[in-house]
Amino acid sequence: MATNDGVLVDVKELRMYFPVVAGVMRTKVADVKAVDNVSFSIKRGETLGLVGESGCGKTTTGRAILQLYKITTGEVLFEGADLTKMKGEQLRRMRRNMQLIFQDPYASLDPRMTAGDIVGEPLLVHNLAGGQNYREQVGELLRMVELEQRMAVRYPHEFSGGQRQRLGIARALAVRPKFIVCDEPVSALDVSIQAQIIKLLMRLKDEMNLTYLFIAHDLSVVRHISDRVAVMYLGKIMEITRSDEIYSNPLHPYTQALLSAVPIPSPQVDRQRKRILLTGDVPSPVNPPRGCHFHPRCHLATAACREQEPELKDVGGEHWVSCHR
Protein backbone atom coordinates (compact mmCIF):
# COMPACT_ATOMS: atom_id res chain seq x y z
CA MET A 1 0.00 0.00 0.00
CA ALA A 2 0.99 3.65 0.10
CA THR A 3 4.68 3.94 0.83
CA ASN A 4 4.90 7.67 0.19
CA ASP A 5 6.01 10.15 2.78
CA GLY A 6 3.65 11.58 5.28
CA VAL A 7 2.63 8.16 6.58
CA LEU A 8 2.39 8.32 10.35
CA VAL A 9 1.22 4.83 11.19
CA ASP A 10 1.92 1.88 8.98
CA VAL A 11 0.42 -1.47 9.93
CA LYS A 12 1.89 -4.45 8.09
CA GLU A 13 0.39 -7.94 8.11
CA LEU A 14 -0.82 -7.58 11.66
CA ARG A 15 -2.02 -10.79 13.27
CA MET A 16 -3.41 -10.99 16.76
CA TYR A 17 -4.39 -14.44 17.96
CA PHE A 18 -5.67 -15.28 21.41
CA PRO A 19 -5.18 -18.88 22.52
CA VAL A 20 -8.22 -20.90 23.56
CA VAL A 21 -7.26 -23.18 26.43
CA ALA A 22 -9.21 -26.16 27.66
CA GLY A 23 -9.06 -28.99 30.17
CA VAL A 24 -7.19 -29.35 33.45
CA MET A 25 -3.82 -29.08 31.71
CA ARG A 26 -4.83 -25.72 30.19
CA THR A 27 -3.50 -26.87 26.83
CA LYS A 28 -4.03 -24.69 23.82
CA VAL A 29 -6.72 -26.17 21.62
CA ALA A 30 -7.27 -23.38 19.11
CA ASP A 31 -6.70 -19.72 18.35
CA VAL A 32 -9.19 -16.90 18.25
CA LYS A 33 -8.01 -15.10 15.17
CA ALA A 34 -9.19 -11.69 16.26
CA VAL A 35 -7.06 -9.87 13.71
CA ASP A 36 -5.81 -11.89 10.78
CA ASN A 37 -3.35 -10.36 8.34
CA VAL A 38 -4.40 -6.73 8.38
CA SER A 39 -2.38 -4.03 6.62
CA PHE A 40 -3.11 -0.34 6.25
CA SER A 41 -1.43 2.98 6.70
CA ILE A 42 -2.62 6.28 8.11
CA LYS A 43 -1.20 9.54 6.83
CA ARG A 44 -0.32 12.44 9.06
CA GLY A 45 -3.38 14.56 9.71
CA GLU A 46 -5.73 11.95 8.32
CA THR A 47 -8.68 10.22 9.98
CA LEU A 48 -9.07 6.58 9.09
CA GLY A 49 -12.42 5.08 10.05
CA LEU A 50 -12.68 1.42 10.99
CA VAL A 51 -16.15 -0.14 10.87
CA GLY A 52 -17.58 -3.60 11.31
CA GLU A 53 -19.97 -5.65 13.40
CA SER A 54 -19.18 -6.46 17.01
CA GLY A 55 -16.50 -9.10 17.31
CA CYS A 56 -14.93 -8.32 13.94
CA GLY A 57 -11.64 -7.28 15.55
CA LYS A 58 -11.77 -3.53 15.15
CA THR A 59 -11.09 -2.73 18.82
CA THR A 60 -8.37 -5.37 18.96
CA THR A 61 -6.71 -3.78 15.93
CA GLY A 62 -6.71 -0.39 17.65
CA ARG A 63 -5.30 -1.79 20.85
CA ALA A 64 -2.69 -3.89 19.05
CA ILE A 65 -1.41 -0.77 17.29
CA LEU A 66 -0.95 0.91 20.66
CA GLN A 67 0.93 -2.18 21.89
CA LEU A 68 -1.64 -2.86 24.58
CA TYR A 69 -1.41 -6.48 23.48
CA LYS A 70 1.71 -8.44 22.57
CA ILE A 71 0.91 -8.98 18.93
CA THR A 72 1.29 -12.40 17.33
CA THR A 73 3.07 -11.39 14.12
CA GLY A 74 3.37 -8.31 11.95
CA GLU A 75 4.81 -4.83 12.21
CA VAL A 76 3.44 -1.54 13.41
CA LEU A 77 5.57 1.34 12.20
CA PHE A 78 5.09 4.70 13.88
CA GLU A 79 7.04 7.41 12.10
CA GLY A 80 9.07 4.60 10.60
CA ALA A 81 10.02 2.91 13.89
CA ASP A 82 8.68 -0.56 14.59
CA LEU A 83 6.74 -0.44 17.86
CA THR A 84 6.54 -4.21 18.15
CA LYS A 85 10.31 -4.39 18.72
CA MET A 86 10.36 -1.76 21.46
CA LYS A 87 10.42 -2.52 25.15
CA GLY A 88 10.30 -0.81 28.52
CA GLU A 89 11.42 2.78 28.69
CA GLN A 90 11.67 3.21 24.92
CA LEU A 91 8.06 2.08 24.42
CA ARG A 92 6.91 4.17 27.36
CA ARG A 93 8.38 7.26 25.75
CA MET A 94 6.72 6.42 22.44
CA ARG A 95 3.38 6.15 24.21
CA ARG A 96 3.39 9.90 24.69
CA ASN A 97 2.68 10.15 20.99
CA MET A 98 -0.24 7.74 20.93
CA GLN A 99 -3.35 7.91 23.05
CA LEU A 100 -6.67 6.12 23.34
CA ILE A 101 -10.20 7.43 23.90
CA PHE A 102 -12.42 4.74 25.31
CA GLN A 103 -15.94 3.71 24.45
CA ASP A 104 -17.62 3.76 27.82
CA PRO A 105 -17.32 7.11 29.57
CA TYR A 106 -18.74 5.51 32.73
CA ALA A 107 -16.23 2.69 33.08
CA SER A 108 -13.10 4.44 31.85
CA LEU A 109 -12.84 7.14 34.53
CA ASP A 110 -11.73 6.29 38.06
CA PRO A 111 -14.72 7.21 40.26
CA ARG A 112 -12.43 8.10 43.18
CA MET A 113 -10.31 10.63 41.32
CA THR A 114 -11.38 14.21 40.68
CA ALA A 115 -11.76 15.42 37.12
CA GLY A 116 -8.59 17.47 37.50
CA ASP A 117 -6.56 14.47 38.69
CA ILE A 118 -7.90 12.31 35.87
CA VAL A 119 -6.95 14.83 33.23
CA GLY A 120 -3.65 15.71 34.87
CA GLU A 121 -2.39 12.20 35.65
CA PRO A 122 -0.70 11.72 32.24
CA LEU A 123 1.19 14.99 32.81
CA LEU A 124 2.67 13.60 36.02
CA VAL A 125 3.36 10.14 34.60
CA HIS A 126 5.37 11.66 31.76
CA ASN A 127 6.94 14.38 33.93
CA LEU A 128 5.49 17.12 31.79
CA ALA A 129 4.33 19.52 34.46
CA GLY A 130 4.38 20.27 38.15
CA GLY A 131 3.18 22.84 40.69
CA GLN A 132 1.51 25.96 39.38
CA ASN A 133 2.24 24.96 35.82
CA TYR A 134 0.37 21.69 36.40
CA ARG A 135 -2.78 23.46 37.53
CA GLU A 136 -2.63 25.82 34.60
CA GLN A 137 -2.26 23.00 32.14
CA VAL A 138 -5.17 21.07 33.64
CA GLY A 139 -7.31 24.20 33.38
CA GLU A 140 -6.21 24.67 29.79
CA LEU A 141 -7.08 21.05 28.92
CA LEU A 142 -10.54 21.40 30.42
CA ARG A 143 -11.06 24.60 28.46
CA MET A 144 -10.03 22.84 25.26
CA VAL A 145 -12.84 20.32 25.65
CA GLU A 146 -15.30 23.09 26.56
CA LEU A 147 -15.54 22.31 30.27
CA GLU A 148 -15.13 24.94 32.95
CA GLN A 149 -11.96 25.12 35.00
CA ARG A 150 -13.88 25.11 38.26
CA MET A 151 -15.18 21.63 37.42
CA ALA A 152 -11.70 20.20 38.12
CA VAL A 153 -12.63 19.49 41.74
CA ARG A 154 -15.69 17.41 40.86
CA TYR A 155 -15.85 13.63 40.68
CA PRO A 156 -16.91 11.67 37.58
CA HIS A 157 -20.39 10.87 38.91
CA GLU A 158 -21.16 14.61 38.95
CA PHE A 159 -20.77 14.76 35.16
CA SER A 160 -23.16 13.73 32.41
CA GLY A 161 -22.18 11.09 29.84
CA GLY A 162 -21.17 13.69 27.27
CA GLN A 163 -19.11 15.63 29.81
CA ARG A 164 -17.38 12.44 30.92
CA GLN A 165 -16.44 11.71 27.36
CA ARG A 166 -14.98 15.24 27.21
CA LEU A 167 -12.85 14.35 30.25
CA GLY A 168 -11.67 11.20 28.48
CA ILE A 169 -10.70 13.34 25.49
CA ALA A 170 -8.90 15.89 27.68
CA ARG A 171 -6.94 13.08 29.34
CA ALA A 172 -5.88 11.76 25.94
CA LEU A 173 -4.79 15.24 24.85
CA ALA A 174 -2.78 15.94 28.02
CA VAL A 175 0.49 14.56 26.64
CA ARG A 176 0.07 16.39 23.29
CA PRO A 177 -0.06 13.19 21.26
CA LYS A 178 0.26 12.94 17.48
CA PHE A 179 -2.03 9.97 17.08
CA ILE A 180 -5.27 9.03 18.86
CA VAL A 181 -7.23 5.81 18.62
CA CYS A 182 -10.89 6.73 19.20
CA ASP A 183 -12.62 3.50 20.15
CA GLU A 184 -16.38 4.01 19.71
CA PRO A 185 -16.20 7.40 21.45
CA VAL A 186 -19.82 8.35 20.74
CA SER A 187 -21.63 4.99 20.76
CA ALA A 188 -22.85 5.33 24.33
CA LEU A 189 -24.23 8.85 23.88
CA ASP A 190 -27.57 10.40 22.91
CA VAL A 191 -28.00 11.77 19.39
CA SER A 192 -27.73 15.46 20.27
CA ILE A 193 -24.71 14.86 22.56
CA GLN A 194 -23.15 12.60 19.95
CA ALA A 195 -23.16 15.47 17.46
CA GLN A 196 -21.46 17.75 20.02
CA ILE A 197 -18.64 15.26 20.67
CA ILE A 198 -18.11 14.60 16.95
CA LYS A 199 -17.83 18.30 16.34
CA LEU A 200 -15.38 18.67 19.24
CA LEU A 201 -13.18 15.82 17.96
CA MET A 202 -13.08 17.35 14.48
CA ARG A 203 -12.19 20.78 15.81
CA LEU A 204 -9.41 19.43 18.07
CA LYS A 205 -7.98 17.48 15.17
CA ASP A 206 -7.61 20.66 13.12
CA GLU A 207 -6.28 22.74 15.99
CA MET A 208 -3.74 20.23 17.27
CA ASN A 209 -2.85 18.63 13.96
CA LEU A 210 -3.90 15.17 15.14
CA THR A 211 -4.24 11.89 13.31
CA TYR A 212 -7.14 9.62 14.24
CA LEU A 213 -8.01 6.00 13.92
CA PHE A 214 -11.75 6.24 14.46
CA ILE A 215 -13.38 2.94 15.40
CA ALA A 216 -17.16 2.67 15.38
CA HIS A 217 -20.00 0.48 14.21
CA ASP A 218 -22.13 3.40 13.05
CA LEU A 219 -21.33 3.87 9.38
CA SER A 220 -22.91 7.30 9.05
CA VAL A 221 -20.84 8.66 11.96
CA VAL A 222 -17.63 7.06 10.67
CA ARG A 223 -18.15 8.37 7.18
CA HIS A 224 -18.85 11.83 8.49
CA ILE A 225 -15.65 12.12 10.52
CA SER A 226 -13.19 10.10 8.41
CA ASP A 227 -11.17 10.81 5.29
CA ARG A 228 -10.98 7.13 4.45
CA VAL A 229 -12.97 4.17 5.75
CA ALA A 230 -11.87 0.56 6.26
CA VAL A 231 -14.54 -2.13 6.59
CA MET A 232 -13.61 -5.15 8.71
CA TYR A 233 -15.24 -8.54 8.90
CA LEU A 234 -14.01 -11.47 11.01
CA GLY A 235 -10.52 -10.12 11.55
CA LYS A 236 -9.93 -9.09 7.95
CA ILE A 237 -10.23 -5.91 5.97
CA MET A 238 -12.82 -6.25 3.23
CA GLU A 239 -12.61 -2.82 1.67
CA ILE A 240 -10.77 0.48 2.14
CA THR A 241 -11.76 3.59 0.29
CA ARG A 242 -12.24 7.32 0.53
CA SER A 243 -15.24 8.34 2.60
CA ASP A 244 -16.96 9.96 -0.35
CA GLU A 245 -16.82 6.68 -2.24
CA ILE A 246 -18.05 4.35 0.45
CA TYR A 247 -21.71 5.26 -0.03
CA SER A 248 -21.62 6.17 -3.72
CA ASN A 249 -19.52 3.25 -4.90
CA PRO A 250 -19.21 0.36 -2.42
CA LEU A 251 -17.69 -2.63 -4.19
CA HIS A 252 -17.66 -5.36 -1.57
CA PRO A 253 -20.98 -7.19 -1.02
CA TYR A 254 -20.45 -6.94 2.73
CA THR A 255 -20.02 -3.17 2.57
CA GLN A 256 -23.17 -2.97 0.45
CA ALA A 257 -25.14 -5.06 2.94
CA LEU A 258 -23.82 -3.03 5.86
CA LEU A 259 -24.82 0.22 4.15
CA SER A 260 -28.28 -1.02 3.29
CA ALA A 261 -28.86 -2.02 6.92
CA VAL A 262 -28.46 1.60 8.02
CA PRO A 263 -31.80 3.35 7.65
CA ILE A 264 -31.52 6.89 6.29
CA PRO A 265 -33.35 9.50 8.38
CA SER A 266 -35.48 10.60 5.46
CA PRO A 267 -38.57 8.56 4.62
CA GLN A 268 -38.52 9.28 0.87
CA VAL A 269 -34.83 8.54 0.37
CA ASP A 270 -34.99 5.38 2.45
CA ARG A 271 -37.95 3.95 0.55
CA GLN A 272 -36.04 4.15 -2.72
CA ARG A 273 -32.98 2.27 -1.57
CA LYS A 274 -32.08 -1.26 -2.53
CA ARG A 275 -32.16 -3.48 0.54
CA ILE A 276 -29.85 -6.41 1.14
CA LEU A 277 -30.80 -8.26 4.30
CA LEU A 278 -27.94 -10.30 5.76
CA THR A 279 -29.09 -13.51 7.35
CA GLY A 280 -27.47 -15.31 10.24
CA ASP A 281 -24.86 -14.16 12.70
CA VAL A 282 -21.16 -13.52 12.33
CA PRO A 283 -19.34 -16.88 12.42
CA SER A 284 -16.89 -17.65 15.20
CA PRO A 285 -13.35 -16.33 14.68
CA VAL A 286 -12.04 -19.54 16.29
CA ASN A 287 -13.01 -21.48 13.22
CA PRO A 288 -13.60 -19.00 10.42
CA PRO A 289 -15.06 -20.24 7.13
CA ARG A 290 -12.59 -21.44 4.49
CA GLY A 291 -12.00 -19.23 1.51
CA CYS A 292 -13.51 -15.77 1.77
CA HIS A 293 -14.63 -15.27 5.38
CA PHE A 294 -17.84 -13.65 4.22
CA HIS A 295 -18.97 -16.30 1.72
CA PRO A 296 -21.59 -18.09 3.90
CA ARG A 297 -23.59 -14.85 4.15
CA CYS A 298 -22.77 -13.44 0.72
CA HIS A 299 -25.47 -13.33 -1.94
CA LEU A 300 -22.89 -13.35 -4.72
CA ALA A 301 -20.71 -16.23 -3.48
CA THR A 302 -19.38 -18.74 -6.03
CA ALA A 303 -17.23 -21.88 -5.80
CA ALA A 304 -14.06 -19.79 -5.95
CA CYS A 305 -15.16 -17.84 -2.86
CA ARG A 306 -15.58 -21.06 -0.89
CA GLU A 307 -12.11 -22.34 -1.78
CA GLN A 308 -9.78 -19.42 -2.10
CA GLU A 309 -9.29 -16.44 0.11
CA PRO A 310 -9.36 -13.19 -1.86
CA GLU A 311 -6.60 -10.63 -1.42
CA LEU A 312 -6.99 -6.92 -0.91
CA LYS A 313 -6.59 -5.50 -4.43
CA ASP A 314 -6.15 -1.95 -5.66
CA VAL A 315 -8.99 -0.96 -7.98
CA GLY A 316 -7.72 2.60 -8.44
CA GLY A 317 -8.37 5.89 -6.74
CA GLU A 318 -7.26 4.78 -3.27
CA HIS A 319 -9.91 2.09 -3.36
CA TRP A 320 -8.96 -1.41 -2.22
CA VAL A 321 -11.29 -4.41 -2.19
CA SER A 322 -10.93 -7.99 -1.08
CA CYS A 323 -13.41 -9.90 -3.24
CA HIS A 324 -13.21 -12.33 -6.18
CA ARG A 325 -16.14 -10.67 -7.85
Binding site: E53, V191, A257, P263, D281
Partner: protein, 278 residues
Protein backbone atom coordinates in the same frame (compact mmCIF):
# COMPACT_ATOMS: atom_id res chain seq x y z
CA UNK B 1 -48.91 -0.69 31.23
CA UNK B 2 -48.80 0.52 34.83
CA UNK B 3 -45.36 -0.93 35.34
CA UNK B 4 -43.90 2.05 37.16
CA UNK B 5 -43.65 1.17 40.85
CA UNK B 6 -45.56 3.26 43.35
CA UNK B 7 -43.93 4.75 45.38
CA UNK B 8 -42.06 6.73 44.04
CA UNK B 9 -43.94 7.03 40.72
CA UNK B 10 -47.43 8.46 40.75
CA UNK B 11 -49.67 8.99 37.76
CA UNK B 12 -51.15 12.32 38.76
CA UNK B 13 -53.65 12.72 35.99
CA UNK B 14 -54.82 11.85 32.51
CA UNK B 15 -56.34 8.86 30.85
CA UNK B 16 -54.91 5.90 28.97
CA UNK B 17 -57.68 4.60 26.79
CA UNK B 18 -57.10 1.18 25.36
CA UNK B 19 -59.90 -0.46 23.43
CA UNK B 20 -62.43 1.85 25.06
CA UNK B 21 -61.22 1.24 28.62
CA UNK B 22 -59.26 3.67 30.78
CA UNK B 23 -56.30 1.58 31.91
CA UNK B 24 -55.66 3.92 34.83
CA UNK B 25 -59.08 3.12 36.31
CA UNK B 26 -59.18 -0.65 35.93
CA UNK B 27 -58.35 -2.88 38.91
CA UNK B 28 -54.96 -4.51 39.46
CA UNK B 29 -56.61 -7.83 38.66
CA UNK B 30 -57.93 -6.56 35.37
CA UNK B 31 -54.67 -4.92 34.27
CA UNK B 32 -52.93 -8.23 34.87
CA UNK B 33 -55.16 -9.78 32.24
CA UNK B 34 -54.29 -7.04 29.78
CA UNK B 35 -50.59 -6.76 30.50
CA UNK B 36 -48.58 -9.31 28.52
CA UNK B 37 -51.80 -10.48 26.88
CA UNK B 38 -53.42 -7.64 24.97
CA UNK B 39 -50.50 -5.22 25.41
CA UNK B 40 -47.01 -6.63 25.31
CA UNK B 41 -43.64 -5.04 25.66
CA UNK B 42 -40.17 -5.67 24.28
CA UNK B 43 -37.49 -4.32 26.58
CA UNK B 44 -34.25 -2.65 25.72
CA UNK B 45 -31.72 -5.12 27.01
CA UNK B 46 -32.52 -8.77 26.36
CA UNK B 47 -29.51 -9.89 28.39
CA UNK B 48 -30.93 -8.45 31.59
CA UNK B 49 -34.62 -8.88 30.78
CA UNK B 50 -34.51 -12.63 30.37
CA UNK B 51 -34.23 -14.83 33.45
CA UNK B 52 -30.83 -16.53 33.28
CA UNK B 53 -31.77 -19.56 35.37
CA UNK B 54 -34.89 -20.62 33.48
CA UNK B 55 -34.93 -22.28 30.06
CA UNK B 56 -36.36 -20.35 27.14
CA UNK B 57 -39.19 -22.87 27.00
CA UNK B 58 -40.17 -22.18 30.60
CA UNK B 59 -40.10 -18.41 30.10
CA UNK B 60 -42.07 -18.50 26.88
CA UNK B 61 -44.78 -20.84 28.11
CA UNK B 62 -45.42 -18.87 31.30
CA UNK B 63 -47.57 -16.26 29.59
CA UNK B 64 -49.26 -18.88 27.42
CA UNK B 65 -50.36 -20.95 30.40
CA UNK B 66 -51.42 -17.88 32.32
CA UNK B 67 -53.37 -15.99 29.68
CA UNK B 68 -54.52 -18.69 27.33
CA UNK B 69 -55.08 -21.37 29.95
CA UNK B 70 -53.45 -24.16 27.96
CA UNK B 71 -51.54 -27.00 29.63
CA UNK B 72 -47.77 -27.06 29.81
CA UNK B 73 -47.32 -29.65 27.04
CA UNK B 74 -49.32 -27.56 24.57
CA UNK B 75 -47.60 -24.41 25.75
CA UNK B 76 -44.16 -25.89 25.05
CA UNK B 77 -45.21 -26.86 21.54
CA UNK B 78 -46.61 -23.39 21.00
CA UNK B 79 -43.37 -21.85 22.33
CA UNK B 80 -41.33 -23.80 19.79
CA UNK B 81 -43.61 -22.53 17.03
CA UNK B 82 -43.10 -18.97 18.23
CA UNK B 83 -39.33 -19.33 18.16
CA UNK B 84 -39.56 -20.57 14.60
CA UNK B 85 -41.76 -17.61 13.71
CA UNK B 86 -39.11 -15.11 14.85
CA UNK B 87 -36.45 -16.92 12.87
CA UNK B 88 -34.54 -19.04 15.36
CA UNK B 89 -33.25 -22.09 13.50
CA UNK B 90 -33.62 -25.57 15.03
CA UNK B 91 -36.27 -24.21 17.40
CA UNK B 92 -37.54 -27.56 18.79
CA UNK B 93 -34.13 -28.33 20.21
CA UNK B 94 -33.06 -24.81 21.18
CA UNK B 95 -36.21 -24.24 23.21
CA UNK B 96 -34.56 -26.13 26.07
CA UNK B 97 -31.49 -23.91 26.09
CA UNK B 98 -30.83 -21.12 28.57
CA UNK B 99 -30.65 -17.45 27.53
CA UNK B 100 -26.83 -17.25 27.76
CA UNK B 101 -26.56 -19.88 25.05
CA UNK B 102 -28.01 -17.41 22.54
CA UNK B 103 -26.36 -14.37 20.93
CA UNK B 104 -27.67 -10.86 21.68
CA UNK B 105 -29.68 -10.75 18.46
CA UNK B 106 -31.18 -14.19 19.15
CA UNK B 107 -32.04 -13.16 22.72
CA UNK B 108 -33.92 -10.16 21.37
CA UNK B 109 -35.79 -12.52 19.03
CA UNK B 110 -36.80 -14.53 22.09
CA UNK B 111 -38.07 -11.32 23.68
CA UNK B 112 -40.10 -10.63 20.56
CA UNK B 113 -41.49 -14.18 20.57
CA UNK B 114 -42.46 -13.76 24.22
CA UNK B 115 -44.18 -10.46 23.56
CA UNK B 116 -46.11 -11.93 20.65
CA UNK B 117 -47.05 -15.17 22.39
CA UNK B 118 -50.58 -14.05 23.27
CA UNK B 119 -51.16 -12.26 19.99
CA UNK B 120 -51.36 -8.77 21.50
CA UNK B 121 -53.31 -5.91 19.97
CA UNK B 122 -50.56 -3.50 20.92
CA UNK B 123 -46.81 -4.09 21.02
CA UNK B 124 -44.57 -1.57 22.77
CA UNK B 125 -40.95 -1.89 21.67
CA UNK B 126 -38.64 0.10 23.95
CA UNK B 127 -35.34 0.70 22.13
CA UNK B 128 -35.50 -2.87 20.83
CA UNK B 129 -32.30 -2.60 18.79
CA UNK B 130 -30.12 -0.23 20.76
CA UNK B 131 -27.65 -2.85 21.93
CA UNK B 132 -27.24 -4.73 18.64
CA UNK B 133 -25.30 -4.31 15.38
CA UNK B 134 -26.90 -2.62 12.39
CA UNK B 135 -27.19 -5.86 10.45
CA UNK B 136 -28.97 -7.55 13.36
CA UNK B 137 -31.05 -4.42 13.87
CA UNK B 138 -32.25 -4.69 10.28
CA UNK B 139 -33.14 -8.36 10.81
CA UNK B 140 -35.06 -7.72 14.05
CA UNK B 141 -37.03 -4.79 12.68
CA UNK B 142 -37.98 -6.87 9.65
CA UNK B 143 -39.25 -9.58 12.01
CA UNK B 144 -41.37 -7.06 13.94
CA UNK B 145 -42.60 -5.46 10.74
CA UNK B 146 -43.56 -8.78 9.13
CA UNK B 147 -45.47 -9.82 12.24
CA UNK B 148 -47.23 -6.47 12.26
CA UNK B 149 -48.49 -6.93 8.71
CA UNK B 150 -49.30 -10.60 9.33
CA UNK B 151 -51.27 -10.23 12.56
CA UNK B 152 -52.35 -6.60 12.38
CA UNK B 153 -50.64 -5.67 15.65
CA UNK B 154 -50.27 -1.97 16.41
CA UNK B 155 -46.67 -1.11 17.29
CA UNK B 156 -45.24 1.71 19.40
CA UNK B 157 -41.52 1.91 18.82
CA UNK B 158 -39.56 3.95 21.35
CA UNK B 159 -36.18 4.92 19.95
CA UNK B 160 -33.65 7.69 19.46
CA UNK B 161 -32.70 6.35 16.04
CA UNK B 162 -34.23 8.68 13.49
CA UNK B 163 -33.38 6.33 10.64
CA UNK B 164 -35.41 3.53 12.17
CA UNK B 165 -38.36 5.89 12.56
CA UNK B 166 -38.09 7.04 8.95
CA UNK B 167 -38.05 3.46 7.71
CA UNK B 168 -40.81 1.91 9.81
CA UNK B 169 -43.12 4.44 11.44
CA UNK B 170 -46.40 5.72 9.99
CA UNK B 171 -46.57 8.59 12.44
CA UNK B 172 -44.15 10.14 14.90
CA UNK B 173 -44.39 11.76 18.33
CA UNK B 174 -41.36 13.82 19.35
CA UNK B 175 -40.82 14.13 23.11
CA UNK B 176 -38.59 16.45 25.09
CA UNK B 177 -38.28 16.82 28.85
CA UNK B 178 -41.42 14.78 29.48
CA UNK B 179 -43.58 16.72 27.04
CA UNK B 180 -44.87 16.05 23.57
CA UNK B 181 -43.29 18.66 21.30
CA UNK B 182 -44.59 17.58 17.92
CA UNK B 183 -46.81 14.90 16.48
CA UNK B 184 -47.70 14.00 12.91
CA UNK B 185 -47.35 11.64 9.94
CA UNK B 186 -43.72 10.53 9.40
CA UNK B 187 -43.25 12.21 6.01
CA UNK B 188 -44.59 15.51 7.33
CA UNK B 189 -42.39 15.46 10.43
CA UNK B 190 -39.25 14.88 8.36
CA UNK B 191 -40.06 17.29 5.53
CA UNK B 192 -41.94 20.05 7.23
CA UNK B 193 -41.16 20.05 10.95
CA UNK B 194 -42.80 22.81 12.98
CA UNK B 195 -40.83 22.56 16.21
CA UNK B 196 -37.18 23.72 16.51
CA UNK B 197 -36.26 20.67 18.59
CA UNK B 198 -37.37 18.32 15.80
CA UNK B 199 -35.30 20.33 13.31
CA UNK B 200 -32.24 20.18 15.56
CA UNK B 201 -32.64 16.46 16.14
CA UNK B 202 -32.88 15.65 12.44
CA UNK B 203 -29.93 17.92 11.61
CA UNK B 204 -27.64 16.45 14.25
CA UNK B 205 -27.50 13.02 12.63
CA UNK B 206 -24.84 12.57 9.94
CA UNK B 207 -26.45 11.40 6.69
CA UNK B 208 -24.96 8.58 4.65
CA UNK B 209 -26.66 9.67 1.46
CA UNK B 210 -25.64 13.32 1.40
CA UNK B 211 -22.20 14.78 0.68
CA UNK B 212 -20.11 15.06 3.82
CA UNK B 213 -20.42 18.37 5.57
CA UNK B 214 -17.51 19.87 7.40
CA UNK B 215 -19.70 20.86 10.28
CA UNK B 216 -22.50 18.89 11.79
CA UNK B 217 -25.20 21.12 13.15
CA UNK B 218 -25.42 20.75 16.87
CA UNK B 219 -28.02 21.43 19.54
CA UNK B 220 -25.98 23.20 22.20
CA UNK B 221 -26.40 22.49 25.88
CA UNK B 222 -27.86 19.56 27.77
CA UNK B 223 -31.38 18.24 28.32
CA UNK B 224 -32.81 19.97 31.40
CA UNK B 225 -33.07 18.55 34.88
CA UNK B 226 -36.77 17.71 35.17
CA UNK B 227 -36.91 18.45 38.89
CA UNK B 228 -35.69 22.02 38.41
CA UNK B 229 -37.50 22.94 35.24
CA UNK B 230 -39.93 25.85 35.75
CA UNK B 231 -43.48 25.04 34.68
CA UNK B 232 -43.89 28.42 33.08
CA UNK B 233 -41.50 28.13 30.16
CA UNK B 234 -40.98 26.12 27.02
CA UNK B 235 -38.62 23.33 28.21
CA UNK B 236 -36.56 23.60 25.02
CA UNK B 237 -36.19 27.39 25.07
CA UNK B 238 -32.71 27.46 26.73
CA UNK B 239 -31.32 25.49 23.77
CA UNK B 240 -33.55 26.93 21.06
CA UNK B 241 -32.27 29.17 18.28
CA UNK B 242 -35.67 30.79 17.80
CA UNK B 243 -36.45 31.45 21.46
CA UNK B 244 -37.93 34.85 22.30
CA UNK B 245 -38.94 36.38 25.63
CA UNK B 246 -42.40 34.82 25.47
CA UNK B 247 -40.87 31.30 25.34
CA UNK B 248 -39.28 31.85 28.78
CA UNK B 249 -42.47 33.14 30.35
CA UNK B 250 -45.16 30.89 29.01
CA UNK B 251 -45.33 27.25 28.08
CA UNK B 252 -46.65 26.55 24.57
CA UNK B 253 -49.41 23.96 24.21
CA UNK B 254 -49.85 21.59 21.29
CA UNK B 255 -51.63 23.33 18.45
CA UNK B 256 -52.86 22.16 15.08
CA UNK B 257 -50.35 23.27 12.43
CA UNK B 258 -51.48 21.07 9.54
CA UNK B 259 -53.46 17.98 8.71
CA UNK B 260 -52.93 15.49 11.60
CA UNK B 261 -49.98 17.64 12.55
CA UNK B 262 -49.55 19.15 16.04
CA UNK B 263 -46.68 21.22 17.40
CA UNK B 264 -45.97 22.97 20.70
CA UNK B 265 -44.16 26.15 19.69
CA UNK B 266 -45.00 29.85 19.66
CA UNK B 267 -42.97 30.35 16.54
CA UNK B 268 -43.98 27.26 14.58
CA UNK B 269 -44.71 29.33 11.49
CA UNK B 270 -41.09 30.49 11.41
CA UNK B 271 -39.50 27.07 11.91
CA UNK B 272 -39.30 26.66 8.13
CA UNK B 273 -36.52 29.27 8.07
CA UNK B 274 -34.40 27.09 10.34
CA UNK B 275 -34.71 24.20 7.94
CA UNK B 276 -33.68 26.36 5.01
CA UNK B 277 -30.78 27.91 6.90
CA UNK B 278 -29.18 24.47 7.13
Amino acid sequence: MRLIPYPPGIIVGGEVNFDGKDLLKVSEEEIRHIRGNRIAMIFQEPTTSLNPVLTVSRQLSEALELHRGIDSKAATDEAAKLLKLVGIPDSERRINDYPHQFSGGMQQRIMIAMALSCNPALLIADEPTTSVDVTVQAQLLEVINNLRTQFGTAVIIITHNLGVVARYADSVNVMYAGRLMESGPTDVIYNDPKQPYTVGLIASVPRLDLPRQKNLSVIDGLPPNLARLPKTMCPFSPRCKLAVAKCKEQRPELEVVGKDHLAACFRSSEVGQLVEAR
